[in-house]
């Protein structure tokens, strides 16, 4: 839109957004996103071997559930894509009077290529998970061994110190003890003197025992604290190894997936070109016919609706499975595990919601800036500047103009419900079904 006028203007976008009626919602969404990120960062770290094992098993099963879900969805997508392609091809054959539906053979070839690629990918994923499980077990064993050795060394050191102390105490009381024992060996001492000497001897022993026990208690506490610190350290190292391994595995899987997609694209492109050529002529003819056009749209809409319904259902089941797995292993490990993927999904949905809301606010601001600029004869308005010279500041006028608008209802400001299916539900576009 070219503005008319002989002045230039600018606005302070932050100030306008801060004063926008929907700003509170924007802030609330941001707070929820920060909270989810905080929860993910603040996930409790397993401390014991049993907890680490539970976490590893849970992650393995979550990854398996994810793989299953992805595979199911790919298969469903392929199924509906092929079904739609077949229905369209049949319609094309019927309308154009051809005996064999267009691309039937090519479709079967494409299906085979996709299935083979998926299987190879699944095998590779399984192989990586097995290797990861073994690696984690090895790391846990090594850490356990290191912890055990360090603890044994500290225990031996403390025991040596206790023995030294015991000897030191015995040396200190040696003379007194000898005197008392000599007295007791003398048969001529009175009963009272005997009792007194015995009592003194007993006192020395009790005192030494108490001192030794006190040292032992201190040492035990020290040992316990050392053990805990070793366990914490081991947990942190285990966790770091796990995270690094998971990242590596994810990178490898992504690379393999990319490689698979590239290969598929190349292989399918060859088939697609032949297929496209066949359908192009038929489509040109079909598109001219409103009845056939309506039929084609109907086929596509039906397939899309069925696929979306199945996707929604499968997604809900998948999310439920994840919840159950987290609950199950939390109970086994006696600690609350966090499902990072679920938190990330939720944060992503909230971010999308926030983005939508922000865009909506910006659209509204843009419309009002246009109104104000036209009224003031301003030809161009900047939304971000470092400093103003003689340009006109339109910020306050735009704020007033927005405030004068009818207040937005909460329903209208929400683009989608947080718990609803993600807006990124994949659409169903069968390859080469229509030009």
């Amino acid at each position: 839109m070219i503005g008319h006028g002989n002045a230039a203007g600018y606005i302070d976008m932050d100030k306008i957004i801060d004063s926008h009626p929907l700003h509170v919602e924007l802030d609330q969404l941001q707070a929820q996103i920060t909270l989810l990120n905080g929860q993910a960062q603040n996930a409790p770290v397993p401390q014991t071997d049993a907890q680490r094992q539970a976490q590893a098993q849970m992650e393995e099963q979550l990854a398996a559930a994810d793989q299953l879900f992805q595979q199911e969805m790919t298969q469903r997508r392929m199924y509906y894509g092929q079904r739609e392609a077949a229905a369209i091809a049949a319609l094309q054959a019927h309308t154009t009077g051809q005996a064999t539906p267009i691309g039937q053979q090519l479709g079967a070839q494409a299906q085979k290529i996709q299935q083979d690629a998926l299987k190879a990918y699944g095998d590779y994923q399984k192989q990586l998970f097995t290797a990861d499980g073994q690696h984690l077990q090895a790391v846990a064993r090594q850490l356990q061994q290191e912890t055990g050795l360090k603890l044994a060394a500290r225990r031996a050191q403390l025991e040596r110190q206790e023995t030294d102390y015991q000897i030191q105490l015995a040396r200190q009381s040696q003379t007194q003890r000898l005197n008392l024992k000599t007295q007791l060996e003398d048969l001529n001492i009175s009963q009272d003197q005997r009792q007194q000497a015995e009592s003194q001897l007993a006192n020395i022993e009790t005192r030494e025992e108490a001192l030794i026990n006190s040292l032992k208690a201190r040492d035990n506490a020290d040992l316990k604290s050392y053990q805990e610190s070793l366990q914490r350290d081991a947990a942190t190292r285990y966790n770091a190894a796990r995270v690094s391994m998971m990242n590596d595995t994810n990178d490898k899987l992504k690379a393999r997936q990319k490689q698979m997609n590239d290969q598929l694209r190349t292989q399918l492109a060859g088939l697609g070109t032949q297929y496209q050529q066949q359908v192009a002529n038929a489509n040109a003819q079909l598109e001219k016919d409103p009845k056939t056009r309506a039929e084609l749209d109907k086929i596509h809409a039906e397939n899309q609706a069925q696929y979306s319904a199945e996707f929604t259902k499968a997604l809900a089941a998948y999310q439920q499975t994840r919840k159950q797995l987290v609950a199950k292993y939390s109970a086994i490990g006696h600690m609350q595990f966090i499902d990072d993927a679920a938190l990330a999904d939720e944060a992503q949905q909230l971010s999308a919601q926030r983005r939508d809301l922000y865009s909506k606010i910006i659209d509204q601001v843009q419309a009002q800036v246009g109104e104000v600029a036209r009224e003031r004869g301003v030809a161009i308005v900047f939304s971000s500047i470092r400093g103003a010279g003689h340009a006109v500041d339109l910020t306050d006028q735009v704020i007033k103009a927005i405030a004068a608008l009818p207040s937005p209802s909460p329903e209208s400001s929400q683009s989608s419900d947080t718990n609803s299916v993600p807006s990124s539900t994949p659409s169903l576009e069968p390859s080469g079904s229509r030009s």
Binding site: N6, A7, A8, G9, N42, V381, S384, R386, G389
Partner: protein, 264 residues
């Protein structure tokens, strides 16, 4: 009655002139904008991006293999070498494309007698969109001949924010804020451990409020000072306004040196 009417018009004209003395003298047709993301989406750029991504992925794998079993110092050195390789590839792939795009923008801007072209993102209303012309010029076969003339003096200024960020006081403010944010973040993480969801939400809200206060304390005074310095320079040079250099695509008046000297 007639005289009174004329004097009313005169008063109105005087008032209008008083309100916007510079605006009436401005030729607003010389400010254009271009959608740089549309240029980035051209097949040539997309293809270069794919090539670069592939090279980066391969380099990342080579890097992982190269650092295996190496000392920290060696790893650091290898990291530097690989980064240089990446930068060189980036230049090799993108420099010719960027140069062609820049020449196309300059040519279109010169043909339309524009004094400045900015990025589309900072224009919310009006201005001349030259994106289509630029895309079509880039798409033409053969060499794009650059315009003979340099852009005319512009009433839109620009300042290099990265140079301002290097001033000691700017660095100190950024560091103070970064430290405060880190501390607050750590505090928040500690406080959130083992708390219920609603308690955690309260902690997050408190964190955000404290962060805002810190920003007001550490960053805002400097931002105000910079804005004032830029505005003073803009008025001194009789400019409409000053934008960030990152948003300028072609032409404009560079006021960085003046702003820096005013801030020192």
């Amino acid at each position: 009655m007639h005289i009174r009417f004329i004097s009313a018009i005169a008063v109105a004209i005087v008032a209008a002139l008083a309100l916007a003395p510079q605006a009436l003298a401005v030729d607003i047709n010389d400010i254009g904008f271009v959608d740089q993301s549309a240029i980035g989406a051209l097949p040539a750029f997309a293809s270069a991006q794919v090539q670069f991504s592939q090279f980066r992925d391969q380099t990342a794998r080579d890097f992982q293999a190269a650092i295996k079993g190496k000392s920290q110092a060696d790893q650091q050195r290898i990291y530097g070498d690989f980064n240089q390789k990446l930068a060189a590839k980036q230049h090799e792939l993108f420099d010719p494309l960027l140069s062609r795009a820049q020449t196309a923008i300059a040519l279109v801007a010169a043909q339309k007698s524009m004094s400045v072209v900015v990025d589309k993102q900072i224009v919310i209303y009006g201005g001349q969109d030259i994106t289509k012309d630029v895309l079509s010029t880039i798409g033409q076969s053969g060499v794009i001949v650059p315009p003979v003339n340099t852009p005319p003096p512009s009433e839109v200024g620009y300042v290099d924010q990265t140079q301002i960020d290097q001033l000691p006081k700017a660095k100190a403010a950024a560091q103070a804020f970064a430290q405060a944010r880190q501390q607050l973040g750590q505090q928040m993480q500690t406080q959130m451990a083992g708390k219920s969801q609603s308690d955690q939400a309260t902690i997050v809200a408190q964190f955000n409020a404290k962060l805002k206060d810190e920003q007001k304390k550490d960053i805002q005074p400097l931002n105000d000072e910079i804005e004032k310095a830029v505005s003073d320079v803009a008025r001194k040079h009789k400019l409409l306004l000053v934008i960030d250099q990152a948003d300028r695509v072609y032409g404009g008046t560079d006021v960085t040196a003046d702003v820096l000297s005013s801030l020192k």
